[in-house]
């Protein structure tokens, strides 16, 4: 299985290390050609404004939309913003997942936090949720399944072959979200 990580800006190396512990050697994607033949793609955390500009300048914006139309994509924090169909106060980027997002809705760095999340169908004990200047999903469409919530707000969501988390599993030693995404990629989005 070939998994790519968008490597324009942000914490892409952390995802690569986590995937390596699961036996997957991920590829770093910086150009539209880098998407060829991938079975899945991670949009990492970082600055969404920075990533969306770099993507547009390199012709990756359309390529990412096309890729996400049929193949598994997981957006983390800034990556979640890039995936959203609606973003408060700005144009959406890839518009893949049916949700509305408010950037930095939890506040600045002083309001960043760690919280234990109920793992739902991921199974096992509490899932460590690291929220850093996190976006808030203010609304999820009817076709979107909420995997985990915090304070009532959805923080992990699935829609067919698409996955989004407002928190950073790559900053913890817990591999469950990454393992879940690999299953999604193997099943091409057709999870039981």
């Amino acid at each position: 299985m070939r998994i790519g990580i968008l490597a324009l800006q942000g914490a892409f190396a952390e995802h690569r290390e986590m995937l390596a512990t699961l036996g997957v050697r991920a590829e770093l994607v910086r150009t539209p050609g880098g998407l060829d033949g991938l079975d899945g793609l991670i949009l990492p955390g970082g600055e969404s404004t920075s990533m969306r500009r770099l993507a547009a300048w390199g012709g990756l914006d359309k390529a990412l939309r096309d890729f996400g139309a049929g193949r598994p994509v997981w957006g983390v924090c800034a990556g979640l913003i890039l995936m959203a169909r609606y973003v408060e106060g700005e144009e959406p980027f890839a518009g893949l997942m049916d949700m509305a997002v408010a950037r930095n809705a939890y506040g600045r760095q002083g309001e960043s936090f760690v919280a234990d999340l109920l793992p739902g169908r991921l199974g096992g004990g509490p899932l460590p949720g690291v929220f850093i200047r996190a976006p808030r999903v203010v609304e999820a469409g009817p076709g979107v399944e909420v995997l985990a919530r915090h304070g009532g707000w959805p923080v992990a969501l699935v829609q067919g072959h698409l996955l989004a988390t407002a928190f950073h599993p790559e900053l913890t030693p817990d591999p469950r979200m990454h393992a879940f995404f690999l299953k999604l990629c193997a099943a091409r989005g057709a999870l039981p």
Binding site: A7, L8, Q9, G10, A11, F12, A13, E14, R30, G45, G46, E47, T49, S50, R53, L54, W57, C77, A78, R103, N104, R108, Q109, G110, S112, F113, V114, V130, I132, R133, H168, L171
Partner: protein, 294 residues
């Protein structure tokens, strides 16, 4: 919140900056230009280092009102500088709500013996270093991010290269050293043994490490990335150039595509004049910022 959680959040935010460019800005308009050009954060300050150098006198923390103006103007993280050892300037910046504090040698030091006890703050800190020992001393004090100092306000990349290479050399030595030499090495470089051990295991600093001080062109930025830095700070290099918006974007692209000379050639075209600068070698001791910090 316990210390461990605090560290995870603070070093975590620094990780989100990786592969990015943090730009010095002096007003909301410059901050918007930086954001539009793809900066991953901005450093709010009243004068860029080149002007601090030209003006002389005492350089202090910026006016909190000015910093707030920049925080309101952009959605990306905002950093601000306090003087080395001036923990009350740091307290004020924390109260203003900045996302990161730079305890910076570019400002006039307030304490010539001690740096701030950064573990005592909720806000993350970035600090400058010239070598591995200095980096690890700052991390021991609680810095969540390191930047090599270079020589700010010169537009001359030579010191940034020197410091990046010195950090790399220190890491290499730690990595290949027999176990029995570690204690003496830690003492030699003036760093805690526990952190030296961590560097030995990781093969890198335990926190994100950006380059700073003298970066003026896309090629400079790419050079620092190729030397193993996680990203770059650009101070005077952007807004002291002929066409700041274009140069800012080009430097952002250069950091992402640092290993692709074809792309670097394209983005380096027609940028207009770079900042004129001053050769770092021509500066005598007192006019070198990098020597500040202990």
């Amino acid at each position: 919140m316990n210390q461990e959680t605090q560290e995870l959040l603070n070093t975590g935010l620094a990780r989100m900056f990786k592969g990015g460019v943090i730009m010095d800005v002096v007003d909301p308009q410059q901050a918007r230009i930086a954001e539009e050009a793809g900066a991953c954060a901005v450093m709010a300050l009243e004068r860029v280092p080149a002007d601090i150098r030209a003006d002389g006198g005492v350089a202090r923390m910026s006016d909190p009102g000015m910093i707030r103006g920049i925080m309101e103007a952009v959605s990306i993280p905002v950093m601000a500088k306090c003087r080395i050892g001036h923990f009350m300037e740091a307290r004020i910046l924390e109260a203003v709500g900045v996302d990161f504090i730079d305890e910076s040698e570019v400002l006039t030091p307030a304490d010539e013996a001690f740096h701030i006890d950064k573990k005592d703050f909720r806000t993350p800190f970035v600090c400058g270093c010239r070598d591995l020992g200095e980096a690890l001393r700052r991390i021991a004090e609680g810095a969540a991010m390191i930047r090599t100092k270079g020589e700010a306000g010169t537009g001359d990349v030579v010191e940034a290269v020197r410091h990046a290479r010195a950090v790399r050399e220190g890491i290499r030595r730690a990595r290949h050293m027999p176990e029995e030499e570690l204690v003496a090495f830690a003492r030699e470089i003036g760093a805690p043994l526990e952190l030296v051990r961590q560097v030995r295991e990781l093969g890198r600093l335990p926190v994100v490490n950006f380059a700073a001080g003298g970066i003026a062109t896309p090629a400079d930025a790419a050079l620092m990335m190729q030397l193993g830095m996680d990203g770059v700070f650009v101070g005077s290099g952007i807004f002291k150039s002929a066409d700041p918006a274009r140069r800012a974007r080009a430097i952002v692209e250069a950091v992402t595509h640092h290993d692709d000379p074809q792309t670097l050639a394209r983005i380096s075209e027609n940028l207009g004049g770079a900042m004129s600068g001053v050769a770092a070698r021509s500066l005598d001791g007192e006019r070198r910022f990098a020597g500040r910090g202990w």
